[in-house]
């Protein structure tokens, strides 16, 4: 019999999971003639005993209450704290910010083009707000770009072109 064929028996024998009479006979027959598998059984037993001797982790006080509090929250966000590691989840939350930036940029355009307006709009001009056109900030000032596309670009480093720099200078 091949060593590979008795590995599963060795695994179970090592933690006293119990073998049938037939399995026991097969394993014993192999072990008598195979020093490698005898050593493997020894190693498996040793590791199993070490892990059995590992002391359990204590539960932090108030664990069940913390779970209950999370379940109690009616308006629990769909994304858990674990999803912070997922950029798609947390950047989606930035979409409104991007939208607000676009609106601000539009306001800026309006203010610059209609200086005669009676109620002075905030004096935000492109000279004030633009960064070099190859930066993410310049891309945010393109009113035509969608928030999703911008965020995707910023985060993946494949920014859409900010267009002709003359437009914003």
């Amino acid at each position: 019999m091949d060593c590979k064929d008795v590995e599963h028996l060795i695994a179970r024998d090592a933690d006293a999971a119990g073998l049938t009479a037939d399995e026991r006979a097969r394993l014993d027959a192999h072990l008598t003639s195979c020093a490698g598998c005898r050593a493997a059984l020894d190693d498996q037993r040793h590791v199993a005993r070490l892990l059995h001797a590992r002391v359990d982790t204590p539960v932090r006080p108030g664990f069940a209450q913390r779970v209950a509090a999370r379940l109690d929250r009616q308006d629990e966000p769909a994304e858990s704290i674990l999803d912070l590691a997922n950029w798609r989840a947390w950047t989606a939350g930035l979409a409104p910010v991007a939208a607000a930036l676009v609106v601000l940029a539009w306001l800026g355009v309006g203010a610059a083009r209609t200086p005669s307006t009676t109620t002075p709009a905030p004096q935000v001009t492109f000279e004030d707000v633009t960064a070099p056109s190859n930066t993410p900030a310049a891309v945010f000032l393109q009113p035509s770009a969608s928030g999703d596309a911008l965020l995707e670009g910023v985060l993946t480093g494949t920014l859409p072109s900010a267009g002709d720099p003359n437009n914003v200078r």
Partner: protein, 190 residues
Amino acid sequence: MDADRSLVEEAAGGSREAFDELVRRYQGQIVNLARAMTNSDDQADDLAQEAFVRAWRSIGSFRSDATFRTWLYGVALNVIRTHRTRRSRWLRLFSSDTRDTSSEGSPIDRGTADDGIERPLAMRQLIDRALAALPVELSEAVVLRDVEGLEYQEIAAALGVPIGTVESRIFRGRKRLRSLLRPVKGWISR
């Protein structure tokens, strides 16, 4: 047969009291599982909480052909696996080389049992560090068997794999742990 049956049925019917009782009943096992799989007290607490939140959300889909305990372990392992996968992706993203730092060399090399920590705690730390260095499919099989004490049949159900796969993963997992845990040799035979 399943000691949790009536509680589970009540919880599936929307009883928070019943579910809270299940949380109290299993919190120790799930926190311990998460600790062994992440080598971090903070992550263990977070992930165990998340496991119970997901269990509550999906308890309606629980089918009694498995025990609640087995099903809950399955839910928790999904949470832990997702966490470990994301974590290693981020480590790859932000480190100059592509190795997962948790599998760098022998984990024992980076810690010592003689640094003043009480022996059982130091031993747990060394064991969990070694477990965290294994591929997740090997560590979860070994942890369920040798740390949590599940039967092979239960492990197969929790992982959704045949029992032969469980045996093979346990064999290979222990084999890798044997060298990672060499410094701990003799601690338990004294």
